[in-house]
Structure formats: C-alpha cells, structure tokens
Amino acid sequence: MADFFFHTTLGQLLLIVLESLAVLVPLLLGVAYLTLAERKVMAAMQLRKGPNVNGPFGVLQAFADAIKMLTKETVIPSGANRMLFLFAPFLTFSLAMIAWAVIPTGNGLAIANINVGILYLLAISSLGVYGMLIAGWASNSKYAFLGGLRSAAQMVSYEVSIGLVIVSVLLAVGSLNLNDIVLAQRHVWFCLPMFPMFIVFFISALAETNRAPFDLPEGESELVAGFFVEYSALAFGLFFLGEYANMFLMSGMVSILFLGGWLPPLAIAPFTWIPGPLWLIAKILFCLFVFIWVRATFPRYRYDQLMRLGWKVFLPFSLAWMVLTAGFLMVTGLLPGGAG
C-alpha cells in the first residue's frame, strides 16, 4: 500500500489529491462555521441571541444558508462582461484555497514544503485584489466599480507594510521556508520580541481581507455592497467563501509568523500532549475571534484615514523597525545565516 502511494506516479498524484482534500474539507467546514460563529459572537457582544432557530443553538444555520444560496438564480446584469463577471468569484475562491498548499500544520506537515513559502503566500495574497477589481469592472455598475477601485488601492497600500513586517521576521529566521520560520520560534514566539510588528501585521491583515474597520470596498452605507453588489446565488457564495477563507489564511499567517505555528507555548508536559495541528488550529481560531471582536467594536474608517494609516504610519514605522531589527541582530551577533 505504502509502496503504491510513494513509488508510482499515479499513487503520488492520488496522494496529493488526498492531502489537498485533508486540508480543504476542514477548511470549508471551518468557513461555514465561521459565518455562524461571527453572527453568534457579535450577537453575544451586542446582547442579542443570534441565529437560534435551525438546529440546537442554530448550528444548522450555515447549511441552511448554503442551500439557500445554491438554489437561487444567478443574475447576470445586462451590459456586464459575462466571462469576466463569472471568472472573478472563481478566481477569488481558488486563490483563497491554493494558498493553503504551503501552510505547515506540523513539523514538515505541508502539502508543499517549498523554500520560498512565505513569498508564495505573499504572491497569492497580493493576487486576491484581482478578483475584486475584475468583479467591480465586469459588473458594469458604478457602485461595484467604486468598490473594486477602493479595494485595489487599499490592498496595494497595506501589502507594502505586510512585506516589511515579513522582512523583519525573516531577518530573525534566516530562511523563507515556513517550516523554518516556525522552528525558529522554539524558544520564544516572535509576538513577544516583535510585539509592535505583530500589531502592525494584524491590522494590515484586517485591511488585506477587507474586514471591519477597513471594509470600505463593500461599505454598505455608501456603496450598497461594493464590488459584489451585482452578484447573487453561487457566484456570491464563492465570493463569500473566498473572503472568509482569506480570513483563515491571514490568521494562519499571523499564527505562523508570530504565534509559533504548531508549537505549544511552553515545551513542557501538559502542553506537549496536545498534537501540533491542534495548537495551530487553536491559534487560528483565536485570531479569527479577534477579527470578529474588532468588527463588533470599531466603526468604519474614512477612506483618506485608511490611506494615511497605511502610508504615513505603518510604512515608516515598519521600515524603522526593520532597520532596528537588522541593527540589533548584527550588534548582538544573533543574525542567522553565517554572514553575521
């Protein structure tokens, strides 16, 4: 059996498919329940009950929503660019899925343990903007178009600070491999020595996933629903799934870069009994809770404030911190990679 999976071409292909399913099926279930969790958590924060009709405590609400979305009609507006209109949600959804290929859930437990894993993640997350831009343009609607433009400018701006934060982390790790990044945090998680960068990264992740308080691309009070205002049924569902899967992905990146990935907080007995993947899941869920917490707490930014924060606050700050990190590592001789 093992021989078939590891030594024949067909077996290896099958193995990759099975590995992908092992990541994607829990992910999609997680996305379905994240929508429910969001409504429940926000309800609790606002002293409401949230969905409580379908099943005990409303646990079947996610499936009710999914069935509703699948049975509705896909409306394509007249004057829309048909092909691009349908392509955009698929792009958003598939980009949110393929990024998971490199996320390590344990030591060496990734579908693809590539040397430039973090660059791959950065590349995939920077492509996410195309789904929104194309959707906004192809809808042939002014609200959708404005939403698309907003999201493009916003994501490009915050990618800059995300890139610089990642560089500071990489300076301390000495490798672009996600597995090495986690292993470098054996002694101390990077969220402690690089606490300001952790905060900058988390806020930029909020902006990158178009979440409140940076949800201007869909700002319903100004743009109805922003770039996906013309979408319905399955196409809308794909956007929805893609957006929430992106939240999972960004939480995964925060966990891997700053919260020690699959590592337990302390390498002593009660913590080490829990397997690594569960630690990673716990950290991702914690980040997602903060995402929802932020949404229930803060009002939406104004667009010029958003740009100011990205370019005039985060960019100089993360640049300065990067130089500081490099200088500190150089002076103390902790710089990894031999040259220091």
Binding site: N115, V116, A123, I134, A339
Partner: protein, 257 residues
Amino acid sequence: MMTQIVFYVFAAVLVLSATMVVSARNPVHSVLFLILAFFNAAGLFLIAGAEFLAMTLVIVYVGAVAVLFLFVVMMLDVNFTQMREGVQRYAPIGGVVGGVLFIELLMAFMHWRAATNIGQIAHLVPSSPTRTNTAALGDVIYTHYIFLFQACALVLLVAMIGAIVLTLRERPTGRRQNIDRQHDRMVADSLEMLQVPLGAGVDAQGGFLRPRESYDIAAVPGTYGTAAWSEAEARDADGTALVIKTPANGTKGEGDE
C-alpha cells in the same frame, strides 16, 4: 520528458497571451492577458529552478504593477469605434517601428557573443545542494555587487522623486486635513458661544458658528466682543435690530415644491 511538455505549454501560452496583449480590442482584456503572460513567465522561471525570481515576478509585476495598470485602464473612457478609426493612419508608423526593431533583433542575434569573464565571477555563486536560490542571489547582489546595486537604487530614487515633483500640485482651493492639529483641539478653543437674541438668528452676530482659528475675529463684523458687536447689541436693546423674517407663503416647508 515531463519537464519539456510543461515548458512547451508555458511557453505556448506565454507567446499566445503576449500576442493577445497587442491584438485584443478591449484594453482591459489586454492588461488581463499581460497578467497571464507574467504568470507563464513565472512558470518558466520555476521550471528553470529559479523559484525566488518566479515568486518576485508574481509579487512585483502581477501583484503591484499590473494592478495599477488595470486600475488606470479600467478608469479610461475608451471609445472603441474611435480607436479603430486611427488604425489606418498609424499602421505605417507602427510598421516602420516594428520593422526597425525586428532588424535590430536580427543583428543582435547574428553577432551574439558570450562574455569571456564568466569564469571569473562563477566562484561568487558556490553551488551546493543545500544552498537556496535566495541565498545565492543575496550573496551576489548584496555582498559582491553592493555598490552597483545601491547605484541602481539611487537611480530609481531619483526617478521616484522626479515623478512626485512633476505630478504633485499644490492646489489653493484644496482642503487639507492636519490630523495632529485636530487631535490637539479642545472644545474651549475651537467653539465660541454667542448670545443670540430671540428670533435674530446667528448671522446677526457675524456669521455662522465655526472654528475660531479659521478666520480673523476682528475682520468679521459683529463678532462678539468687537465694537460692531456692541453696536448691534445696542440696537438690539431698543428693538430696532430685531428682524423677523416671515416666509412669503405661510411657514417654511408648506409651499416648497
């Protein structure tokens, strides 16, 4: 064998999408084909083992440059019929430019020579199975050629400053926001309370309420505390300043529209 098939697929899609970039009618489609071309180029880099270059190509060109292209092209108001009218007129010029480029390419290929000193710099990139692409590139760029690299960065910096200087306009009518000043502002030094006589409205005292720092108090007639104010107050006292404006057709709102 497998690698060759993959190479030809990537190369074919790359050439096809590059052709579509120049032949597509809709400029938005052109940019999207350009993105496809970038992707396939990244794929070719991956096959060649240059994983770092592949990822950088996607991050820089697809993730940033093409987004801005698309951003601008989507906002253009393109008239397709008008665009097609120009084809006849510009075709000869385009043909000449293309022809010159083609002949130059041919000349370049005929006189292609490999650099003779390649052996002298090969030692800069020691290859070993554990050494990653990223480390090798870093060694060459940041250690051995750091000054040339910095010079390139300076050229780019000059270009960036030039672009900003050329496009930044100080518009006198533009309203600017100073966040720090806004944060420092207190209620006491930004608002002033006026004593408004019954029925007179605030404009009798010199305009609507607004931040004091945005206008010169002394220049506004009738501001609280100035001579004009005391004059108005004096007139108010004997009832001459009280102006009650009555709408022509009943109360406000009834006759509108």
